[in-house]
């Protein structure tokens, strides 16, 4: 009997300890996180812009990073290239078609620790209503206490995808096929 009681206590302690290794970070301070995109313009330029509204949830398992999860939702209507006409074109039906598909999302399916806190995250990216697996390289920036006493972790990620895989096939040959999302987050622990 004592043996089973001891076993139960051990399981409880183990589970409690394991769950204590899981931390959740969110975009509670949106002005310190950024989502940019870049795409080639012909063979002679690279255009960049940003998405102003997005949220994310990072569940970080410090004991076993492969059990971490990342979810990202970007408001595609908040796309900002710095040129009104271009914003209308890119968010319009020829490209992102935000009237029908207002959200760009990413949900991780596997996380690999590649050393020094850096990660390789594979997941399903959904753009224009189409989901495809994409792998992001994630650089661990650091963590610590912020000026308001909040606890933060910083990551910088890049993921590249072919826009034609997501049905964005207007003006191929003018606008490059490969789009890179550049994501910098300073998540606040909940």
């Amino acid at each position: 009997m004592n043996y089973f009681r001891g076993l139960l206590v051990a399981i409880f302690v183990t589970v409690s300890f394991a769950s204590a290794q899981t931390e959740t970070y969110t975009n509670a301070d949106p002005i310190r996180s950024f989502v940019y995109y870049q795409v080639d313009y012909g063979n002679f330029g690279r255009e960049m812009g940003r998405f102003n509204t997005f949220d994310y949830t990072i569940v970080r398992d410090t004991a076993d990073p492969s059990k971490s999860t990342i979810e990202f939702n970007v408001d595609a209507t908040s796309m900002d290239s710095g040129v009104d006409q271009r914003n209308q074109d890119i968010t319009g039906p020829d490209f992102l078609n935000v009237a029908e598909f207002p959200t760009i999302s990413f949900k991780s399916t596997s996380v690999t620790d590649v050393g020094d806190g850096n990660l390789e995250v594979t997941g399903d990216l959904t753009v224009r209503g189409t989901s495809q697996p994409v792998t992001a390289t994630v650089e661990y920036i650091g963590e610590g206490e912020g000026s308001q006493g909040e606890y933060r972790v910083g990551y910088y990620a890049e993921m590249t995808f072919n826009r034609q895989d997501f049905g964005i096939d207007w003006l191929t040959g003018v606008i490059g096929d490969e789009i890179t999302l550049l994501i910098s987050v300073s998540g606040i622990r909940q």
Partner: protein, 285 residues
Amino acid sequence: MNIFLVHLLWTVLLPLAVSGVLYFILRGFVPKLALPVAMVVAYLVTYVVVRPGWPSFPPREYRDYIFIMAVVGLIWSILEPFWRKNVITRWVPRAVVVVGFLLLLLRNRFRSWSTLEDVLWLLGLAIFFLLSWWVLEGLVENPKPVLPVWAFLIAFILWTAVFSAMSATHGSSSMAQLGGVLAAAVGVVMVLSWFLKVELNPYFSTAFIFILGTLLVCALVFPNPGIPIFAGIIIALSPLLLLVVKATPTLRGHILRLAVFALPLLVMTAIFVIRFLATYNEPSF
């Protein structure tokens, strides 16, 4: 070659070639269907080439419906005579297919609209779709057509060209391009009809309104900002002017009808194009 020039060539030359060849082949076998089949097939072939690729099935977004509604329109135009016996059997099925199409097309938009907006858009677009259909049919189905084929040719090309110009200045170059494809496909089959002295028929008007109606609905609803509603109404109902203007069936009368039809379209397009160019700080791409 400049990529825009390549697009332009595909937009014009491919539908010209496909519809022209098909029309010549089909007119000996199915004289009444040669015109709509040639137009729709040319439109679909060019759609697949310029997009590029086939639409998703089941349809997932607006551009899939642009393809599918062209097919539905052609099938509808061929089959409708079998059940079209009176006003009810003509218009009730039409209302059902138009409302059903709009419910499917707009389902993603319904999420961002209030219930009142849903109902207003649905009813408004359905009414204008059906009204355009009625007007167009009235124009070509009269025992004695309102206009000779050459005047229809000018009217239809102007109609689709105005749609393209408005779409190009209101957020969708791809819809403008498809309007151009339709203009080219319609243009060549009507030129051939004119030379061969073939009258237009309801098969043609039904197939045509399915394509242009779908394009117009998409151009009103999906770009931001889309074609303004009042401009959409002018485009949709402008052929009504061809019906209501009383003019003698002479060359002068036909020109008068065309002028009355064209005036609001041209003035509206000129205003929007000038305004677009004035506010167009720099090219998007």
